[in-house]
Amino acid sequence: MSARGGFITSGRVLAAAIAACLVCAVLPVRLLGWTGAVSGVAVRLVAPVSDLGKWIGDRAARAETEEHPDPEIGRLQELESLVRAQEMRISELRAMLDALEQGDILPEARVRQLVGRVFSTSASRAERTLLVRRGAKDGVAEGAAAVVRGRHMLGVVSDVNESFCVVTPLVARNAGPIEVTVHPAEGDGPGVPFVVSPTGDGTLRGPGQFRTEGAEQRPVEVRVGDEASLSDPAMAPHWGLLVGDVVEVERDPESPLRQLVTIRPRIDTRNVARVVLRVPDDDRASQ
């Protein structure tokens, strides 16, 4: 900056900075694509200290990790997820039988699992995005699922930087709707598909399909305490992962035969230390 009286003074620089901030604050998102790169630099600069703070905080708050605290229960839950995923796969294959003569069935998608440290949450308290120290150089891609405690679906990778990725939790207000299947928490029973959307208060809510069972066509009804597993067609490699527990059941006012459920994840998205990133492995799938 030049001395007093020059063209570039500290006052003018400050005024220009304020004007630039004002312009950026009102620019539409489609014109702000360049801010991602700048944000990446800021995140990397702050990461060393935030990593240390997060490490201390995680130990003090006993944050969630990628594995279940009890390995035996974790293994059992993992097997339960696999069974449910296979059940969904079988029903999907049954639906595809009719189309077999017309086209090829893609081989079953495989996933690679990467453990990543959550080194920061979004600086704004209202946002719920998480930054995970795994990025494009590790093979992470958009659409990968973030999982904790072995089988609890936390969210989806919504943006990937070279060295880190952004995970948008399923319960984040702007996360889209997903399809889940609700099963009885204990014992076997038919599942009921629901399409649920984030409510903004940490839960998911949405209507289900009307299903019947048995010769007498008895309606299948879900109850409070039942478990919801992922069954979204767009996330087939991650089917069977636990989304949460049903905490409220009511009748859909628009269609009284259908139920409307509220699902609360067991994991607090803001208290997570490490996640497993399940990245669909296209190379293996194509072999």
Binding site: I18, V46, I56, A126, E127, T168
Partner: protein
């Protein structure tokens, strides 16, 4: 004011703020204190007016750049400006009040932190709400403002804790405003 000291202190405070927010969160809500806010208020209490405004703008801009927002329909966006301008306005409140308060008391920081914080939250939320009128991004101003207001009230606690190391490190900042010569450690 020493820019180097400010940058290093902001770096440490931002990192701790990012890292410890989960630990300091209250209940199941989004209410967690800000460590950056009391730091900006502290700078605004002692630095020359223009430097204080610039420092607040820089701190707010970094918060904007660290806030990665999930967009409806997928994808993320970083929107610089709202927190930067909010912080700059908050600094103006402190600049206006600093002639009326005891500069050498931690109570001053504890009281001014929520006051400036409310200004920051109202300004930032208003800007984001206005842009939501023509560029929807699933932003609910009332909820954000409510949790933001509680967060800045909560920030009074960390302000008390931050006062002592900041006050101890005051000579490093080399505040050169005439009104702080008595306390800044300069002879």
């Amino acid at each position: 004011m020493s820019i180097g000291a400010f940058v290093i202190a902001l770096w440490i405070v931002l990192g701790l703020d990012e890292g410890l927010s989960g630990l300091m969160r209250v209940g199941g809500g989004d209410v967690a204190p800000s460590l950056v806010l009391p730091f900006v208020v502290f700078i605004a209490l002692y630095a020359p007016a223009r430097a204080a405004t610039g420092a607040a703008l820089a701190a707010g801009l970094i918060i904007d750049l660290l806030t990665i927002r999930a967009l409806p329909g997928g994808g993320t966006a970083v929107i610089p400006g709202a927190n930067a301008l909010g912080m700059a306005l908050a600094a103006q409140v402190v600049l206006a009040a600093r002639g009326l308060v005891f500069l050498n008391s931690p109570v001053t920081l504890v009281v001014l932190t929520p006051v400036a914080g409310i200004v920051w939250q109202v300004a930032a939320t208003s800007l984001l709400a206005v842009r939501g009128l023509y560029d929807p991004m699933g932003f609910r101003a009332a909820g954000v403002l409510g949790s933001g207001a509680l967060s800045v009230l909560y920030s009074a606690g960390p302000a008390l804790v931050l006062w002592f190391p900041l006050r101890w490190a005051m000579p490093v900042f080399r505040f050169d405003s005439p009104h702080v010569a008595r306390w800044s450690g300069r002879r």
